[in-house]
């Protein structure tokens, strides 16, 4: 169910964020956004609208040209490199380009995310098996990632992002290569993480099928500017005055 934005504290807060890539490509312009704990937020928009940039800014892969970004109450521009690494352990990111190690197995790829937190081997194996079952990839556990189809690789990337039961999961075009059945599995995974772990989930997508029926907030990015999705009810909009 959607969260009550008026009472919850935001987990992520962007205040007048602008991102300009050299020489003068404006990816995001004066974007302000609050994402609340336990919320599922869909970010929609055409390719090049700024969805990926927004995700990269939240996970510290990029720095804003202007504006402030806070995650769990901490200003990202003031976090030390070690602090960024600790924060990344709690944020799961499923990249659009997957970023898997093709010469390693599915198990090894997913396990990496937990290994950096020094989880026990037993816990890693149990979690990997659970996630693979949820994504219908159990039989691919020991296959090399490079031998999988694009759709399977995408699900492995999602499993890796979800491995640590992150407090924030950022998924960039998570269903771009999936058929409807696999898309349903991914949506179920998001629901599972959200309900079981209380994870906040941000899904950047241009696939209307995954947010068409949702009760959750849907925002639209267009030419670097954030607005409410035209087809969504006004109560779900949380653009605020800085």
């Amino acid at each position: 169910m959607p969260r009550d934005a008026s009472t919850d504290k935001p987990l992520v807060e962007l205040v007048n964020v602008t991102k300009i890539y050299p020489p003068d490509i404006i990816a995001l312009e004066d974007v302000s956004l609050r994402i609340y704990k336990g919320e599922i937020l869909f970010l929609t928009g055409m390719s090049g609208a700024g969805k990926t940039t927004l995700i990269k800014l939240i996970c510290c892969l990029e720095n804003p040209t202007r504006g402030v970004i806070e995650v769990a109450g901490r200003d990202l521009s003031r976090i030390s490199p070690a602090g960024v690494q600790r924060m990344r352990q709690k944020i799961g990111v499923a990249y659009q380009e997957f970023r898997l190690l093709e010469k390693q197995t599915v198990l090894q790829n997913i396990a990496m995310a937990m290994e950096v937190t020094y989880a026990s081997t037993k816990a890693i194996h149990a979690r990997v098996d659970e996630l693979l079952a949820l994504l219908n990839l159990s039989d691919k556990r020991d296959k090399l990632a490079g031998e999988l189809s694009r759709g399977e690789q995408q699900r492995v990337a999602l499993a890796r992002a979800a491995a640590n039961g992150p407090s924030l999961l950022l998924a960039d075009e998570p269903t771009g290569n999936l058929d409807p059945v696999a898309t349903e599995l991914v949506i179920n995974l998001f629901r599972h993480l959200n309900e079981k772990n209380g994870s906040t989930i941000v899904v950047a997508t241009h696939d209307p099928s995954i947010y068409a029926e949702t009760e959750h907030r849907v925002m639209m990015l267009s030419n670097g500017q954030l607005s409410a999705h035209p087809n969504r009810a006004p109560r779900q909009i949380d653009l605020f005055e800085a």
Partner: protein, 295 residues
Amino acid sequence: MQFLAYILRQTGKNLRQTWGTQVMTLLTVTLSVLIFAFFFLIYTNMIRASQRLGDDVRLIVYLDQEVTEQMRPGIEKKIREFGPVEKIVFVSRAEAFSRLSAQLDKEKDVLADLGPDFLPPSIEVYPLKNLHDLTKISQFSDFLLSLPHAAKVQSGSDWLRRFGYFTNLLRVVVLLSGGLLIITMTFIISYTLRLTVLSRQGELEILRLLGATSAYIRLPLLLEGMMQGFLGSSLGLTALYFLYQYIASRFSGPGFLRLFDFAFFPVELTGAILLAGVVLCTAGSLFSIRRFIRI
């Protein structure tokens, strides 16, 4: 515990991924340590030998006339006034003849036609053991030559001087090979780690994205350098030990090595060389890590 297990596992993974380079690195480190330790071993033995020779220094003043019992205290006083000596021994012609006769043992017949007067009388001066300075020995020698009836002074200082030159030359070789060791070890380890980092570039990038800490990424690489240093130094020293055993067994007996009491490094020095190898390789790793890994 879990942390250590991960670090070790990652180190193992690094070693497996670049095993060919790792073997070459290990060989280079081993050879570097072997070359340095070989010269250092010779040097330390030479130093000990020169100390022993210094301890055995005695100055023999050959006289053209016997020293009577009455003259002895005066001469002894004069010598002791110049510098402290351990002992002074007056050797008469007869005593010198008797000594030579004893030394020749079964061959003493050759002295049969020579009278006991053919050897000159002498004074043997034994300086204190701390008198290792060749200049001082030389000054002492000049002084002794000025004694009444002194015909010649034999000090062995020329031989000691030449030995000193050789030891100095060896010191230079040791320093050069030490420098070579430092350059080789740090450079080769740095180069190997660079290859490791390049071969794992993609993985390190993903680890960074997943929140791997600096320790998680860097410690295995540091450990890799330490292991190379430890293994390379151990192998180098082991090879040197076998070489030493071979030389010692082949040249044992009343020859050069017996004279110099050729010995291997004491345990402390062996440990110090091993430690130096580990420290140098670790430094090479650190250099590479700081240069090529940005977290």
